[in-house]
């Protein structure tokens, strides 16, 4: 560009010309330019330009700025009023169209708002820690059988080594997850309460922001004998949170017990934390329990680190990769840092690479919310353009007396903005009304707070929706020719018809895709929940092995077995549904030393396999009589396959350096989440560490049998509550998050379909009304109602039919992508798609049919008389 230094900044000149009184503009501008030129000579360009800016702003004063009270401005305000009046009248006059628009837009907006709140909440999870920006969790990638498995569990000794040896790491500490131990009993006097707790490093409260009500972050866990309670736990144990420091309470886990001193009290863990717990104890205690199990091959902690400022994480990850392998040459483990707050949304790893997770649902719902909004906007566009003939006269008259196109565009935009505004107000009302139900559905505690973010979002939605919804009608209506408009010869152009039809097809395509997706998501989740697990999940009662029950375990099991209605009873260290510990300590002859394989390690008591109902396909189960069975193993089919044995019964393998004989093989069964395929595992008879008691009872008399078990339990543990669960309920709980997603998507899918149908309903009503004369003539000439219904609905059938054709392949493509995330998928059957298409057609027929039938029933004399 040519240097423009010799003329003043043009943008400022334009600005000046805009605000200045037109009578004054010429000579003042001249004065300014003259002064500017002179200043360039005297003071240089830079200063001249700066002073010019000052001059312009000093001219912003009454007497120079053009008058507000001129005709021009008044006119605009009057036009605004006039437009509002016209909009209001047209709303009143065409109530049905107005209501269809309003209901469609406001329910669409309410959905969008709900999804916005949900997404905000999801994204805010775990973000509340002050250290958030520098807070990372160490995850470990394991190379196994040619693939990489990623897990959160790390070695218990990793944190200390990291902090000592990696200068970029400011603090590293370990903790156990609370779910490892279930609810543990805490006793004070004769009061026992069970609560979830975990073992954490003594600096835990320095790294994580769980505010302390009593005690300081540095001191609460200073002693190994310290326990820190949550506010609500302290209240239920002591009825107060004050003056508790130093008081003692009794803790139990399995057959271990300790007396703790209260070191402090923390505020209850907020709902947006992924880690929930009610008390914490020193990790040193756990180290003592584990004893010499604290090695590089064992995974007994979660490890968290904070980094020093300005550390490049990618670079650090590269540096950390060989960290464990440098310690122990046989290791197959690569540690890696993941931002702590990514744990919730980005938890899925495939072959060592981040592969989404819950974020996919967040994205999915964001897309759905936009789609719903678009569908609602399309209704508005279609109905407004369809009703153009009614407005044609108005447009004609306005144009004839000199209205510019700009003014008309402005008028229709104003109408659409007004509509959107009313819809937003209504949507906020709807959200407030249904928020409790929404919270139930999503298991969240969301509230509608009008913070700046929300107001900004609402403003953006108002502008965007108002603009999209209003653009087409505004451009279309304002472009009408005034003469033809006044003559009433409103012939829809081909392009316009296509646009309207195209929009309807688009709406229905999306609706059908939603129907298909909702149907298949529902089927898949149903399938997962009812899948044959390889054992009978019904009528299994689970409860913790604790207190006196744990110390008298064998006798207790015998008592329970003898109860009427009890089929069998046993115990295990496994959670059965959540998975349990795994080990790479199983070796065998002929094993490829390069490939490490991890085996599920399930410690069980006698009769566990029988109680669970897992099928033994070769050899035998553990026997009550043979003491030597503690050096025997039972493997699953998958394990035999991995080892590559034929005829495995009686052969030897090595577990943790000890020779073990395989005495049996069980059919594969699911002992983990169904997101994963069945992995190799073994059963080991190990009465020393059993956390859960499992009882199979007879069907049909659950209540009485459970009462009987409880009375036996109370004989051993009179102070404990008998907390039991049914395995099938736990199992359903496992998939609660998927179920919620499924319910949510069903709701939103339903709303999208309803909104689409509303639009179709409006269009059908309009067509019927426009064709009322034609219908009258046809009827007068002897046409039957049926043929008229057919005539009217033909057009809509074609549109919806086309939508079905487009939607089915698209939905197939989308849904098969989603299903790939599951290890066990349903087969996609043709009828899912055809059914969805038929459902869409049926709904459309119903909607259109109601209208056309009404039109066909009208006495022709009525429609022909009115002119």
């Amino acid at each position: 560009m040519k240097s423009n230094h010799h003329s003043p900044p043009s943008i400022l000149l334009k600005f000046f010309r805009w605000f200045c009184d037109p009578n004054l503009v010429e000579d003042i501008e001249g004065d300014m330019v003259e002064r500017f030129e002179k200043r360039i000579e005297n003071k240089g360009h830079k200063k001249a330009r700066r002073l010019f800016v000052r001059d312009v702003f000093q001219l912003l004063r009454p007497g120079i700025i053009k008058s507000f009270s001129g005709h021009q401005k008044l006119n605009q305000i009057d036009m605004l009023k006039h437009n509002l009046l016209i909009s209001f009248r047209s709303f009143m006059r065409y109530k049905s169209a107005f209501l269809i628009n309003l209901i469609g837009l406001s329910s669409g907006l309410a959905c969008t708002l709900f999804i916005y709140l949900w997404v905000q909440d999801e994204r805010g999870i775990d973000k509340f820690h002050t250290n958030d920006a520098n807070l990372y969790q160490v995850i470990t990638h394991h190379e196994e059988s040619g693939a990489i498995r990623t897990q959160d569990d790390t070695q218990g000794i990793l944190a200390e080594a990291l902090e000592k040896e990696v200068p970029e790491i400011e603090m590293a500490l370990q903790s156990t997850p609370a779910f490892w131990f279930g609810d543990m009993p805490l006793t004070i006097g004769d009061k026992t309460i069970k609560a979830p707790g975990k073992f954490v490093d003594k600096r835990y409260f320095e790294m994580f922001t769980f505010p302390l009500i009593d005690g300081t972050a540095e001191s609460v866990l200073a002693s190994k004998e310290s326990i820190v309670l949550s506010e609500s736990l302290a209240k239920s144990l002591f009825n107060t949170t004050e003056g508790l420091i130093g008081k003692t309470l009794h803790w139990q886990l399995l057959n271990m017990e300790r007396t703790y001193q209260i070191g402090g009290v923390f505020e209850d863990v907020p709902a947006n934390s992924t880690e929930t717990f009610d008390f914490v104890m020193s990790y040193e205690v756990f180290s003592d329990i584990v004893g010499d199990g604290m090695q590089w091959g064992n995974y007994n902690a979660l490890t968290y680190v904070t980094l020093k400022p300005n550390v490049d994480v990618d670079h650090l990850n590269e540096k950390l990769a060989p960290f464990v392998k440098n310690k122990v040459s046989w290791s197959n483990v690569t540690p890696s840092l993941r931002p702590y707050s990514d744990k919730y949304l980005y938890s899925k790893y495939e072959n060592g690479v981040q592969a989404g997770g819950r974020i996919e649902y967040v994205k999915l719902f964001s897309i759905i919310s936009i789609i719903i909004l678009i569908i609602a906007c399309i209704n508005f566009m279609n109905l407004s353009t369809a009703k153009a003939s009614r407005k044609a006269k108005e447009v004609g008259v306005k144009k004839a007396i000199g209205a510019q196109r700009k003014t008309l565009i402005f008028q229709y935009m104003e109408e659409s903005f007004l509509m959107t505004f009313v819809a937003i107000v209504l949507a906020i009302g709807l959200v407030l009304l249904f928020l409790p139900q929404f919270n139930d559905l999503t298991n969240k505690q969301i509230s509608l707070v009008f913070d700046t973010n929300l107001v900004k979002a609402l403003g953006a939605v108002l502008v965007i929706t108002g603009f999209i919804a209003g653009s087409y009608p505004a451009l279309y209506l304002s472009g009408l020719n005034s003469i033809t408009a006044l003559k009433g010869k409103m012939k829809s152009s081909i392009a316009e018809l296509w646009a309207r039809k195209g929009l309807v097809v688009f709406q229905f395509t999306i609706s059908i895709i939603l129907i298909v997706s909702v149907l298949i998501v529902h089927k898949q989740i149903d399938f997962v929940q009812n899948k044959n697990l390889g054992y009978e999940k019904e009528n299994l009662v689970l409860f913790a092995n604790e207190g006196k029950v744990a110390t008298n375990h064998d006798a207790f099991i015998d008592r329970v077995k003898a109860l009427p209605g009890v089929v069998n009873a046993s115990s295990t260290a496994h959670t059965i549904i959540n998975g349990g510990s795994t080990t790479t300590g199983l070796t065998w002859e002929g094993q490829n030393p390069e490939i490490e394989t991890s085996f599920g390690n399930i410690s069980v008591f006698h009769d566990f396999i029988e109680t669970l109902g897992v099928e033994v396909i070769a050899g035998r189960s553990f026997s009550n009589e043979l003491v030597s069975d503690s050096s025997k193993l039972i493997l699953n089919e998958k394990a035999i396959e991995v080892i590559g044995m034929t005829d495995p019964v009686g052969k030897m393998v090595n577990l943790w350096g000890q020779d073990m004989q395989i005495i049996g093989v069980v059919k594969d069964f699911h002992f983990q989440s169904l997101h994963e395929t069945v992995t190799p595992m073994f059963f080991k008879l190990d009465p020393s560490f059993l956390t859960n008691i499992v009882v199979r009872i007879e069907a049909g008399q659950e209540r009485t049998v459970v009462d009987r078990i409880e009375s036996v339990y109370k004989e051993y543990n009179p102070d404990f509550d008998f907390n039991f669960t049914f395995l099938d309920q736990d199992y359903a709980q496992q998939y609660a998050s998927e179920r919620r997603i499924s319910t949510l998507s069903r709701c939103f899918g339903g709303i999208a379909i309803i909104i689409s149908c509303l639009g179709l309903f409006g269009l059908a009503a309009f067509t019927a009304e426009r064709k009322s004369k034609e219908i009258g003539v046809r009827k007068a000439l002897g046409a039957s109602s049926v043929s008229i219904v057919r005539l009217l609905s033909n057009e809509f059938n074609k549109m919806v039919g086309l939508a079905v054709l487009i939607a089915l392949p698209l939905s197939y493509y989308l849904i098969s992508g989603w299903l790939e995330g599951f290890a066990y998928q349903i087969d996609l059957k043709v009828w899912y798609f055809l059914g969805a298409g038929a459902a869409a057609l049926f709904i459309a027929w119903l909607t259109v049919g109601l209208q056309t039938f009404k039109a066909a029933k009208i006495n022709p004399s009525q429609s022909l008389r009115s002119e």
């Binding site: 003329s7 004054l24 000579d27 001249g30 030129e37 001059d55």
Partner: protein
């Protein structure tokens, strides 16, 4: 009654327009004021006062010829009207009357 009292800045502007007699347009007035009175004047404040004085009838203005400088914009030349002259002399008389009323033993330049 109803007489318009010139303000201080207004009076200075009137005087400068009179000094420049026939050559009084925006920038010229500002330059004259800045050089004689050693005070900086913004275009904005000058223009407001000029228009106010014009609307009171003390000043008259007409546009000159367009020139190549100043972006081709014409100058607006201001001149003092008869009414303006009257206001100026009235103002001057008032001042003189006040000056004359100062007692003779009052020393202005006491060093």
């Amino acid at each position: 009654m109803g007489k318009y009292q010139l303000g201080e800045f207004e009076e200075i502007v009137m005087l400068t327009v009179a000094i420049l007699h026939g050559e009084a347009y925006g920038i010229a007035i500002i330059n004259e004021m800045e050089s004689r009175l050693n005070r900086s004047v913004s275009i904005g404040s000058l223009q407001t006062v000029l228009r106010r004085l014009e609307s009171k009838g003390y000043l008259d203005s007409k546009l000159g010829e367009s020139t190549k400088v100043r972006g081709g914009k014409r100058k607006r030349f201001f001149s003092v009207t008869a009414q303006g002259k009257k206001a100026m002399s009235e103002s001057k008389e008032q001042r003189m009357g006040l000056w004359n009323a100062i007692p003779s033993d009052f020393v202005l330049n006491d060093n």
